[in-house]
């Protein structure tokens, strides 16, 4: 990804707010895949933002007389669970929790990862060695193993979960920023800026980071999917969200005892996770194919 085709993509994103936003350019690059990706993403975002208005029941309030209602009957359009709570409303709550969690953690990752990547790429020295050793340490364990060890210590809850995910899974950003920025720091325009007396931080964030922007967008989408999975996996193990909070991981964990009686308790949250993850993967693929030549979206 070193020579990412910036113009098309940078034009798209850069002009987004301004008046000369060019719809023709969009029509040229938008293939059906991208349209589907961004439509799905828009729907998910809509549900996440306006969730309270489209819930049909209170997600926490159960009706014990209506336990295990199959989908589509008695007003529960995705069925009800073992306490008679509406699965659709709980799924919407789960979406909000997951999106908020993944988004915040992702932004944290983006910030930490790109800062460390830039610092390590800037010049050889002690800082580079330390940062690389840190990355090496984090990489020597499967992500979930580290997360489990830390979450056990810091406890459950939204803030701790976001902080754990945010502080520990930035390696992917750092590696890409490091790889691409290393060559950018050697370019003439950076040298010129240095000679002109531009400050160190302003070179890093103002001159070098924009050159990595296209890759960062792609990683942001794929990493978002990864964080969604990590979050629901931790909740499923009973380590992430506190018990009782309607998240997809918790809903899956609850469904395990009622597999014979109410398979929809498994299918609803599983479908939600898969939809969200596939959407984010599609978005990542779409951005990647916007930022490079068309028709090569298979190899991300």
């Amino acid at each position: 990804m070193s020579n990412v085709k910036l113009p098309v993509f940078a034009g798209l994103v850069g002009d987004f707010g301004s008046k000369n936003f060019n719809w023709d350019k969009i029509r040229q690059v938008a293939n059906p895949e991208i349209v589907v990706a961004f439509t799905l993403f828009a729907i998910l975002t809509f549900i996440a933002v306006f969730g309270q208005f489209i819930q049909t029941h209170d997600p926490m309030q159960g009706d014990l007389l209506k336990r295990f209602t199959p989908p589509g009957s008695e007003g529960y359009f995705l069925g009800s669970d073992h306490l008679g709570r509406d699965l659709w409303s709980r799924m919407v709550d789960g979406l909000q929790w997951s999106m908020a969690c993944a988004m915040t953690a992702n932004l944290l990752n983006l910030f930490i990862g790109s800062t460390l990547g830039l610092l390590a790429a800037e010049k050889p020295g002690m800082l580079r060695i330390i940062i690389n050793q840190l990355v090496y340490t984090l990489q020597s364990f499967p992500g979930l193993v580290i997360l489990i060890c830390v979450v056990v210590v810091v406890g459950q809850g939204f803030t701790t979960l976001v902080m754990t995910l945010g502080l520990l899974s930035w390696v992917v950003y750092m590696r890409v920023v490091y790889a691409e920025a290393s060559s950018l720091f050697q370019r003439e325009y950076v040298q010129a800026a240095r000679l002109a007396g531009v400050s160190r931080w302003s070179i890093m964030f103002g001159h070098v980071l924009p050159g990595v922007r296209a890759s960062l967008f792609v990683i942001f989408a794929f990493h978002f999917a990864g964080l969604l999975i990590a979050e629901s996996a931790l909740s499923f193990l009973g380590l992430g969200a506190p018990l009782g909070v309607p998240t997809w991981g918790n809903m899956l964990a609850e469904s395990r005892q009622y597999m014979i009686r109410a398979p929809w308790m498994l299918i609803v949250p599983a479908g939600a996770i898969v939809t969200a993850v596939v959407t984010m993967n599609l978005v990542g693929d779409g951005i990647a194919s916007l930022s490079r030549k068309k028709g090569r979206s298979i190899d991300v």
Binding site: Q133, T137, S140, P142, A233, L237, I260
Partner: protein, 349 residues
């Protein structure tokens, strides 16, 4: 990238390395140093982190223990000393290969981890094997003519599969094959033993008994690994099919199939080998959730159990073991590239 002076420098470096006996081992020594620093960092961090998590004496004694009992347990395990002293004691023991004893069962911690290890290796190997057996032919088929509608449909399906997390796959497999169809068992694993008796010793070597319980865990793990591998093989194959040497072979009269199997696929597999290495390294941490769901007695399952009971000697031993395993797998992957990729072989490093 390769200006004249750089080439010269490389030559000088190489001649220096040849003169020096340690030369060829420098990368290896560097790697080993990194591993040692890593192990030190991890044990140190984990030590302080797990002590912050809670009082192990409380876990050992239970919540309704009297203060005297707690004090006795603290004295017995050396938990009454200052934290730094405990840390130094722990590191000293570690240097002698003593990881301490499990707080839950009193067994040696490393021994406990090592007895769990074969199950993890078994499931990882099986899953990897199934995944490779499916992914390579499928990827070659997809990458041969990626623009055909049937291949586009299949790669679309594989794209969706890629978005299914491993634990969701596992749950759905249980739902379908164990609950609905009642075909396969969903839990557990059995060990048998081979008695090895001679004049001097009486060993019983544990071996896994092949059974139906292997099918669901290994298949659901393979299901999770397969899509990304297939996509990589497909992408690399289709890329290789556009290369000049393929056109040459085609022009020379080679049939489409022989071009695929003899020329394009071997190149595609190089890229896949890197991913296989990464995936296997990932599995060394134990497919934590898959093992938990299927009650598979591997190190992933042990990790969950020991973290939840704050059994920190076991967690420490686990982290140590996983780090070394990941290191070994990565080293093997890198070495195997030397054999697989002729370009690296001819460089002679």
């Amino acid at each position: 990238m390769s200006s004249a002076s750089e080439v010269n420098n490389n030559k000088i470096d190489k001649s220096l390395n040849k003169a020096n006996l340690i030369g060829p081992f420098i990368p290896f020594i560097q790697q080993l140093t990194r591993l040692l620093v890593l192990l030190f960092m991890v044990t140190t961090l984990l030590f302080f982190m797990l002590r912050l998590a809670g009082d192990p004496a409380l876990v050992l004694a239970g919540n309704d223990a009297s203060p005297e009992q707690l004090a006795a347990i603290r004295a017995q395990y050396g938990l009454d000393k200052p934290l730094l002293i405990q840390y130094f004691n722990y590191m000293l023991n570690l240097l002698q290969g003593d990881f301490g004893r499990s707080l839950a069962s009193g067994e040696p911690a490393m021994g406990k981890v090592l007895t769990m290890l074969p199950a993890t290796l078994l499931i990882a190997g099986l899953a990897m094997l199934i995944s490779i057996l499916i992914a390579i032919p499928l990827g070659a088929w997809l990458g041969f003519k990626p623009e055909r509608p049937d291949r586009r449909a299949v790669s679309g399906i594989i794209f969706v599969f890629q978005g299914v997390p491993g634990f969701v796959t596992a749950l759905i497999f249980i739902q379908v094959f164990a609950v609905n169809l009642r075909l396969l068992p969903s839990l557990g694993m059995e060990w048998g033993t081979i008695e090895y008796i001679n004049l001097f010793s009486n060993l019983s070597i544990p071996i896994p008994i092949p059974s139906k319980t292997w099918i669901l865990p290994s298949c659901s793990l393979a299901w999770f690994l397969m899509p990304s591998l297939t996509r990589v093989v497909a992408a690399n194959t289709s890329e290789a099919m556009r290369e000049d040497y393929i056109r040459t072979a085609r022009a020379g009269g080679a049939s489409g199939k022989s071009v695929l199997w003899r020329h394009a696929l071997p190149n595609a597999l190089l890229g896949a080998a890197a991913l296989i290495g990464t995936q296997f390294a990932f599995l060394m941490g134990g497919a934590v959730i898959t093992e938990t769901i299927f009650a598979w007695p591997g190190i992933g399952w042990l990790l969950i159990e020991s973290t939840q009971t704050l059994d920190f000697p076991v967690v420490q031993a686990l982290a140590f073991c996983i780090a070394i395993l990941v290191f070994i797998v990565n080293a093997i992957t890198e070495l195997s590239f030397q054999f697989l990729d002729p370009r690296l072989r001819s460089k002679g490093n």
